[in-house]
């Protein structure tokens, strides 16, 4: 394998699981015998994958963002109210949504880094504030409607020979993935991982720890805004659109082998974790597993995945795990 193709440590297992699931899908459902089936899967998974990228930035730098689910709901509800069916409003509302997402991230980041409140508490507070504020503003039920132009990104696509219809969301996803990969390979991205690994070392090395961690939250807020555009287009306006997304996306990121507490894991793996989760749900659906059991399976899977990652590697790489432990201890102490 050439150096350029080398994957970040810990990425391979999730890719293997994902490959197995995709093959299983091909056997389980006739829809997956053509590229269109997989494109539809990607389209469904795109919002979660984009959220996973944002959450990855926060988790790898040693934090949590529990506010993304309520932020997605807030964005969709705000967009519907502001656009209210008016096509000409689409452009500035999209800009407003990105700005709002970034602002929420900025507030999360500043409170975490400047007031030294653990990010778990900050984003939990933000979750409560957002949930409350949006519904206070809308009077309890979302009003207004999204414009057709707004909904295009989430639900429409364009025709390509051989592939069939390619959804716009998949194109957007591809662009964001490439941008995220380049970001993580650059100096800022590398330092961000280093912050999660050993904050003190980065600080002594002259890195701006506070600024980097705040940036992670801003990126997470932006990803929630983009995910809201896709979900709003795909599923329409509802007050439940972001429900439970925060835990689902943390599940996805952890499934991708990203270590809670920071410092380990790749952005591609985090995204693959999201796609794996979504493929798993599609497969369970095809196999006729009811909705209730779906969450039970999700629970077993994440425990098993994390247990495999920590105990499995313990058997082979005693030394590395010990180092990991001490570094987890440090990040926990800092929180």
């Amino acid at each position: 394998m050439t150096r350029r193709l080398k994957l970040t440590e810990g990425t391979l297992p999730v890719l293997v699981v994902l490959a197995i699931l995709l093959v299983a899908l091909a056997f389980a459902g006739p829809a997956y015998s053509e590229p269109a089936g997989y494109l539809a899967l990607l389209k469904r998974a795109a919002p979660l994958m984009i959220l996973a990228i944002g959450q990855y930035f926060v988790i790898v730098s040693g934090g949590f963002d529990l506010s993304v689910g309520s932020l997605v709901t807030a964005e969709v509800v705000i967009a519907a109210r502001l656009i209210d069916g008016d096509e000409s409003a689409t452009a500035w509302v999209l800009l407003f949504m990105l700005g709002f997402g970034a602002l929420v991230g900025l507030v999360n980041g500043l409170i975490t880094t400047r007031l030294l409140v653990p990010s778990f508490i900050v984003t939990l507070g933000m979750l409560l504030v957002l949930d409350g504020a949006v519904f206070l503003w809308t009077g309890g039920a979302p009003r207004g409607a999204l414009s057709d132009a707004f909904r295009t990104v989430g639900r429409a696509g364009f025709e390509v020979p051989l592939l069939g219809q390619v959804p716009w969301s998949v194109v957007l996803l591809a662009v964001i993935v490439v941008a995220a990969v380049f970001f993580m390979r650059g100096g800022t991205g590398r330092t961000l991982v280093a912050v999660g690994d050993n904050e003190t070392a980065v600080r002594l090395g002259g890195g701006r720890v506070e600024r980097l961690r705040t940036l992670a939250f801003v990126l997470s807020g932006l990803s929630a805004a983009v995910a809201a555009v896709l979900l709003g287009g795909f599923a329409g306006v509802s007050a439940q659109v972001g429900d439970g997304l925060e835990f689902r996306v943390i599940t996805a990121v952890v499934l991708g082998g990203v270590v809670l507490g920071g410092g380990r894991g790749s952005v591609v793996a985090a995204m693959a974790g999201a796609l794996t989760l979504e493929s798993l749900f599609s497969l369970l659906n095809l196999l006729g597993v009811s909705g209730g059991l779906e969450s039970a399976v999700q629970g077993v899977i994440i425990i098993a995945a994390v247990a495999y990652a920590s105990v499995g590697s313990n058997l082979f790489r005693h030394k590395v795990v010990n180092q990991e432990k001490t570094h987890e201890k440090e990040t926990a102490a800092q929180q």
């Binding site: 007031l115 507070g125 409560l128 059991l293 999700q298 629970g299």
Partner: protein, 338 residues
């Protein structure tokens, strides 16, 4: 202006140089002071609105709200003190309310068995949480989130609404009171006292602080850290199970989502943190937690009396949480600065 100019270095001043009264202002003292201030401000606000906050009904309201949250938060305190956290309590409460109500099935003869069975099931869930965290080395956040999802799957699969029936005799637990104080609140406070005694006066309690302070140091000092963590999780789940039993007795039946609708998972963590316990573990206690619980319950009651919409409550709750923890963090910062 002049006051500020006179003491330019006040924030940087080391702890032992600060005025004596601020040193006495531990988180526990501050949380109860905040509670008193809240009660006074709330009484005034409600009075201006034309009502009374602390009449018989108001006190009853605050205490009843505090009872369930208090039970969950006492358990959560033990877990958070070891440096972990438990996200599975909300679904566990629903599950336990169902087990209690379905086992009783309206027959007073089954009460004892039902309570024992419910507590046992809760203890097993806590045991699983603890073992997954210590033996399989799964991060507590993920382990208990996983448990929560598994219980949720079971509930969603098997139940659509309330089930089971609690006999009249058992509903006394939920509704009887001495003067304005519900018996259940006294039981909750007794449990808090027990936890306070356990944490502050017994070897097991010291071990919990030791593990939360630094797990490696505790292990090297001969503390059985894994056993301590498992114990904390079992006790936490039992406390949640008791909350489920109490809710079943109030409702007259079991309800699958009674715990999650009230958000007891995040709410109990909020109460613990509001009470001055460090989320990273090792410092804090039950006394502060109970203060935090009373603050949250009082806020809720004040808003109800003022007719504020439930959504505004969430906003305030979020802001209070962030501000309180930010204040604690500042104190630690100034202490560390010396």
């Amino acid at each position: 202006m002049t006051a500020i100019a006179d003491r330019p270095a006040a924030p940087q001043r080391p702890a032992h140089d600060r005025p004596k009264w601020t040193q006495k202002l531990t988180p526990v003292v501050s949380v109860y002071l905040a509670l008193v201030v809240l009660l006074i401000v709330g009484s005034v606000l409600v009075a201006v609105d034309g009502g009374t906050l602390l009449d018989q009904g108001g006190i009853l309201n605050i205490l009843t709200r505090s009872t369930t949250l208090g039970l969950v938060a006492i358990g959560q305190t033990l877990v958070i003190l070891t440096g972990k956290l438990d996200l599975s309590v909300a679904y566990l409460i629903g599950l336990c309310s169902l087990i209690a109500a379905e086992t009783m099935a309206g027959d007073p003869g089954n009460i004892v068995f039902a309570v024992v069975l419910t507590v046992a099931v809760a203890a097993v869930v806590g045991l699983v949480n603890g073992l997954v965290i210590t033996r399989l080395k799964v991060n507590a956040f993920i382990a208990t989130l996983g448990t929560a999802l598994i219980i949720r799957g079971y509930l969603e699969n098997g139940y659509e609404g309330p089930a089971g029936e609690v006999p009249r005799a058992f509903q006394h637990l939920g509704y009887d009171r001495i003067g304005p104080i519900p018996i259940s609140t006294l039981l909750m406070l007794a449990l808090a006292g027990l936890a306070w005694w356990y944490l502050g006066r017994t070897r097991g309690g010291y071990h919990i602080y030791a593990v939360g302070g630094d797990e490696d140091v505790a292990r090297l000092s001969g503390v059985r850290t894994q056993r301590t963590i498992v114990k904390a999780h079992v006790l936490c789940s039992i406390a949640a199970g008791l909350a489920g039993i109490f809710l079943a007795s109030r409702l007259g039946s079991g309800a699958p989502y009674v715990g999650t609708d009230a958000g007891y998972d995040l709410e109990s963590i909020a109460a613990v943190v509001l009470g001055g316990t460090l989320l990273a573990g090792g410092r804090g206690g039950v006394a502060g937690t109970i203060g935090g619980v009373f603050i949250l319950a009082t806020l809720d009651t004040i808003f109800d009396d003022l007719g504020v919409t439930p959504f505004f409550k969430d906003v305030v709750r979020g802001v209070v949480l962030i501000v309180a923890v930010a204040l604690y963090a500042r104190r630690q910062l100034s202490r560390r600065g010396k």
